[in-house]
């Protein structure tokens, strides 16, 4: 056990840091560009030097790096003020990429993966539906075979980046007469296809990070199918496993560091709040959770680097992290007292933005990618191997499952 770099790791870190310092984009590079353009600029630059998706095989644009090297790279990247690439490419590289890697044929891998790595093409994910939230497999969007194509009708929801994506991965119901999980098939689709209509969803935070995507007689060639007909759920699990690992990674917002700094700046009873023992006790418990999550991810890493697959234990990160961040944001606003109500992105972020944005954004994180309740179920059933609940939707055709409507 060693929480410090080995020699080889230190050398890799130095190489990464050196490249980053020599290649950090300057104002000239970025001026006049949109956030997406900035992300594409920086991603392309990284890809050219093989610093994009470094864990991927060289053949697909990566550098065959180890899990530990990947973390070192991320740590070094995080130290600099760089264009945010993950919000644009995270889903494609984190979910579509591994799924293509596992299920696409060699030709398609060679066609899609390098562009995905370099940010040349952007991918989105279309799984959720209005009727299938926690019960993801209850999706209803239909695909009907027509010659070499499938004709798709229905609605997807919670699709990040649908409007600027080139491609999307999606699961469709190809047979409603068999049991829920058995009638699904997995595809990818050109997001510019005729019949796709994209509408942004405004969230309570005021942002619109997600979309509803309507499909009206959209044609998807059968060649864009991943896995067999009816095997869609199985393929989707590859994607979801990787989703959990990436959402778990944390999301900014209120954390120990920012809350402690706030407590040093505002007063309780005439003294800095950080001197108040109630504040200290709360901060300490949150620190323990935060450190626990951090070291848990390190331990996962050690497992990954031995070749183990990311398991359901990754559900912990999001479950604990989101609840904690919600309570911390709420408490931070309390510390600000009356002025805590003020939320103005244009003013001092520390007092009037950071915690308020976190407070309004966090309810989404407790839901996206699996609610707290689903995460707890996953831990109970998949890690602790507790028995499933009786299923009302088991062994009957999907079309006969009760829906309440």
């Amino acid at each position: 056990m060693d929480f410090e770099d080995s020699k080889a790791e230190a050398a890799f870190r130095l190489e990464a840091r050196t490249w980053l310092e020599n290649n950090i984009p300057d104002d000239n590079d970025l001026s006049g560009l949109s956030n997406l353009q900035r992300a594409k600029f920086w991603q392309a630059k990284k890809a050219a030097a093989r610093w994009a998706c470094i864990r991927w095989p060289e053949a697909y644009g990566g550098r065959d790096a180890t899990a530990i090297e990947h973390v070192i790279w991320q740590q070094e990247e995080a130290k600099l003020d760089l264009p945010n690439t993950s919000s644009f490419f995270g889903i494609g590289q984190g979910m579509a990429g591994p799924t293509l890697m596992a299920w696409a044929n060699e030709e398609d891998k060679a066609r899609f993966l390098p562009d995905l790595a370099s940010g040349e093409t952007v991918w989105c994910q279309l799984f959720s539906e209005p009727a299938g939230g926690s019960d993801l497999a209850a999706l209803r969007t239909k695909a009907v075979k027509d010659g070499d194509d499938w004709i798709v009708n229905g609605q997807k929801i919670w699709t990040s980046g649908a409007h600027y994506s080139d491609w999307g991965i999606l699961v469709l119901r190809t047979d409603p007469t068999v049991a829920k999980h058995k009638g699904l098939t997995y595809f990818y689709v050109d997001m510019k296809s005729e019949g796709i209509d994209i509408k942004p969803i405004k969230q309570i935070s005021g942002a619109s990070d997600f979309n509803e995507v309507y499909f009206t007689n959209v044609r998807i060639p059968d060649s864009q199918r991943l896995g067999d007909v009816g095997q869609g759920w199985h393929v989707a699990l590859t994607t979801l496993m990787n989703e959990r690992a990436s959402i778990g990674a944390g999301s900014g917002g209120a954390d120990f560091k920012s809350l402690k700094r706030l407590a040093q700046q505002v007063n309780i009873d005439g003294k800095p709040a950080i001197e108040d023992s109630a504040v200290r006790a709360k901060l300490a418990s949150w620190y323990v959770e935060e450190a626990g999550l951090k070291y848990t991810s390190y331990r996962t890493l050690s497992a990954l680097s031995k070749g183990e697959l990311p398991g359901p234990e990754n559900s912990i990160g999001k479950l604990v992290g989101a609840r904690k961040t919600q309570d911390m944001s709420s408490f931070a606003i309390d510390l600000l007292e009356q002025q805590g109500v003020q939320w103005d992105a244009e003013l001092d972020a520390e007092y009037n933005g950071l915690f308020q944005l976190s407070y309004m954004g966090i309810p989404g994180l407790r839901i996206a990618g699996g609610t707290d309740e689903i995460m707890a179920n996953i831990i109970a059933e998949r890690v602790l191997e507790l028995p499933q609940e009786p299923r009302m939707d088991k062994g009957i055709p999907f079309s006969e499952v009760p829906t309440g409507s």
Binding site: S134, I204, S330, D334, Q338, W343, I367, R391, M392
Partner: protein, 371 residues
Amino acid sequence: MNFEFDDDQHLIRDQARSFLGEHCSSSVVREVLEGDALYAEQLWNKVCEMGWTATVIPEEYGGLGLSYLELVVIAEEMGRACAPLPFGSSVYLATEAIMAAGSESQKKKWLPLLAEGKAIGTLAYAEGPGETDAASLSTTVSKDTLTGKKCAVANGNIASLICVLAASDSGEGASLYLVDTSDSGVTAETIRTLDPSLNYADVHFADASCELLGEIGQGRDLLNALLDRAAVLYAWEQLGGAETCLEMAKNYAVQRYAFGRPIGSFQAIKHKLAEMYVKNTLARSNAYFGAWALNSDAEELPLAAATARVGSCQAYYYASKENIQTHGGMGYTWEFDCQFFYRRSKALAVLIGSERQWQEKLISASDPVAV
């Protein structure tokens, strides 16, 4: 001993609920939340016509002379509807301040206006982030004029009168002052907040005329006594909001299906809503005791107020966040109403001192009272 409202009070509750159901539907809240209006003016006029702003004001000052038991019933309904109105700051804060500390002439001037709703009032004490220290205020009074800036004042851009905590010029410590906002020295700047269904403003005073409210140097004590009273009233409003959250969550949990059954049949959801019910029920019982203490001017008021306040803050926070959670993705959309209560719960939680301050007050007030 009798721990229930009487029939008249129940009647007022029913009336208030059906009135607000009709005139303060979610679209009315949404209009203020999304639009430029500072409050729902039409609704305000109707509420004033109903006499709600006049509830506890004595008849001699144009009020209805009813008790606080009637007022808390209305407060709960205001919270339940998440009303986008300056009701709290005007009724629980400004009206109470003048009734408690105002001179006869101040009462005669302001109470009838407040009763009718022609004047909207508020209270201003915070000067920046964190607790306000009455011993080192930067808002000061000199020769009956007041200068300084108060932050995040509830309804600061709507109010006709503001009760301001400021340092007296005589060196006798903090005092409360009344300022008429028609004075040219007063400018208010609406600020962006977590809860745009309410109005908040930074208020600047530049040699604005002011009148002493209560005795000089007594500002801190007056403020504390005032906040004790307001805490009970806000506790009822917070409770009302928490009750709506429980109701929304329950209705959704019965309708929404997953895995072939209503989500309300899963223990994860059941126990979440049971917990909400428990918190709300305890908060309600503490609010009852607070209402009784407020109404009977009991010596237990400081303890009862703090207990009601802490209970309602905790219940509303829990109910508003878990209501969103119960709704899943839809609860997080702008389109759904869950957000109203999540915003409002936080806005009210910091309006008259956060939970932590009231926990502190509770323990201080608990000696030698035992449960």
